[in-house]
């Protein structure tokens, strides 16, 4: 029950963050070289799908670095308030391995600073997101929930109605809690899941999609 309440609070926080972004629409920047109409976009992360399957050991271990630690069905949707600012949400559902299932929800925004400054490369952006994920042990039925902020640096190129997006994600901090009895939440700086092996580990995300 306590876990459910915490999860609802987190979801409320996400909703609040998305609605608060609407105020930014008032600051729409007009750039004569770029479309000023608001746009929606939707896409998929094609590398997340093979990451959820039982591929060879090394592929299974390291492919998730290229899929942004997303597994299985991974979709994203976004909205441009103006050519410089987009909000985005991502959903990923898939098996991490034969033991665990992960459901992930991301929300945040990307800012095309170079477009705003009218310098090249104009498709480069920086952003900030929150990620909530549930790591579920199928056998013990225990949930491990995690919430973390992360920074993005990416490049989005539109070709007609299609686009591709290459992104670097760097997690900063992590807050975790669990459905396991006798546990209380924990938090820590988080630049890498395995700091003894590599102290800072950004992940990559590739997205292909459509704008409408």
């Amino acid at each position: 029950m306590k876990t459910l309440k915490t999860t609802l609070l987190v979801l409320l926080f996400f909703s609040g963050m998305v609605f608060s972004q609407q105020g930014l629409n008032a600051n729409k920047v007009k750039n004569p070289e770029l479309p000023t109409v608001s746009k929606f976009y939707a896409g998929i992360n094609p590398l997340a799908l093979p990451a959820a399957f039982q591929v060879q050991d090394d592929v299974k271990r390291y492919l998730p670095i290229m899929s942004g630690l997303e597994y299985g069905l991974s979709v994203c949707g976004g909205y441009y308030f103006n050519p410089n600012l987009a909000i985005e949400s991502r959903l990923s559902l898939g098996y991490v391995n034969k033991l665990a299932f992960a459901g992930q929800l991301h929300a945040g925004s990307n800012y095309f600073l170079f477009r705003k400054l009218n310098i090249k490369p104009q498709n480069l952006y920086i952003g900030g997101f929150f990620k909530l994920w549930d790591y579920y042990n199928r056998y013990s039925k225990v949930h491990f929930f995690n919430l973390c902020p992360y920074l993005t640096l990416g490049y989005q190129k539109q070709i007609s109605r299609l686009f591709y997006d290459i992104r670097l994600n760097q997690t900063l901090f992590i807050y975790s809690w669990s459905s396991l009895e006798h546990t209380s939440p924990g938090h820590d700086w988080f630049l890498s899941p395995w700091p003894a092996f590599i102290p800072i580990l950004p992940t990559f995300t590739f997205t292909f999609g459509w704008m409408f």
């Binding site: 998730p64 225990v142 924990g186």
Partner: protein, 288 residues
């Protein structure tokens, strides 16, 4: 154009199938060790067990390793007299893998269970009044099969259980080991405990069965080069306390990290470290 549209997905499917591996294995990755350490409150636990995890470097010579084990066990009794369970690493009586002649080497150090090594360590378990788990190369009575085994001796010096590694890796196969067939669950001072060796954590069948048995402790003997973790995936995998015993040092071209630790069921590492020979102690609290 249409032909291309059909060919491309087909090519992708063929490549994907080619990359697919063994279907009955759990391959741990970065996601399994992602998270902040949680606080697990065992202050009101109903049962306790004082445990020790030994990180040891190994010689090629079996007698030398047995002598070292004897010294460590006596030191544990002196340093922490209340210790009830001591866990050593995988095939601790010798090198884990001899790259020059792996089969001949393992045959040379192999023993039956019971045998001279279990007799010697069993006598110590009796005199020191503790459970002792250690890995060795086991030779079957007929002398035909060799197993990568973990033996548990009880405080009377008797053999309480023998677990043979189920999920063999490449080096085990090159060393001529035969896979074990089943899980091993024992009761130590009234606490249900599972025993596994190294890559047994990848066996879906074994993990499912041990979790189904509701074990409270998992004894995990291994020989690994993996560096220390922020959180432990093994404890989270079994929903149990994990006692991880590894080896350290170089064995020809192979190096072992000495990553030894004791983690609670939430995966929080209570004591641990890597690199040097040492003993990690902890008083485990279990809810029944």
């Amino acid at each position: 154009m249409r032909k291309k549209l059909i060919t491309l997905p087909l090519l992708f499917i063929v490549l994907f199938i080619a990359a697919c591996g063994d279907s009955d294995r759990i391959i741990q990755g970065l996601m399994d060790i992602s998270g902040a350490p949680l606080e697990y409150d065992d202050s009101k636990a109903t049962k306790h067990l004082n445990v020790a995890s030994v990180c040891m470097s190994c010689s090629r010579d079996k007698q030398e390793n047995l002598q070292k084990m004897t010294g460590i066990l006596r030191r544990i009794k002196t340093e922490k007299p209340a210790t009830r369970l001591v866990v050593f690493g995988e095939t601790i009586l010798g090198w884990y893998y001899d790259p020059v002649n792996p089969v001949a080497y393992q045959k040379n150090i192999a023993e039956t269970i019971p045998g001279p090594a279990t007799d010697k360590i069993g006598a110590l378990a009796d005199s020191l009044n503790m459970y002792i788990a250690f890995g060795l190369t086991e030779r079957s009575d007929e002398g035909e099969n060799f197993y990568n085994s973990l033996v548990l001796l009880n405080p009377k010096g008797e053999i309480e259980a023998v677990h043979s590694k189920v999920s063999l890796i490449n080096w085990d196969e090159k060393s001529g080991f035969t896979p074990g067939k089943q899980k091993t669950v024992v009761t130590i001072d009234g606490i249900k405990t599972g025993m596994i060796i190294c890559s047994d954590i990848q066996s879906v069948k074994l993990v499912r069965e041990l979790v189904g048995d509701n074990i409270k402790i998992i004894i995990h003997a291994l020989a690994s080069d993996a560096l220390e973790f922020r959180i432990d995936a093994v404890a989270r995998q079994f929903n149990a306390w994990a006692i991880i015993a590894n080896r350290c040092g170089d064995e020809e071209e192979n190096s072992y990290s000495g990553n030894c630790y004791i983690a609670d069921p939430a995966g929080t590492i209570r004591v641990g470290g890597q690199g040097i020979e040492r003993v990690e102690y902890y008083r485990i609290g279990v809810y029944e």
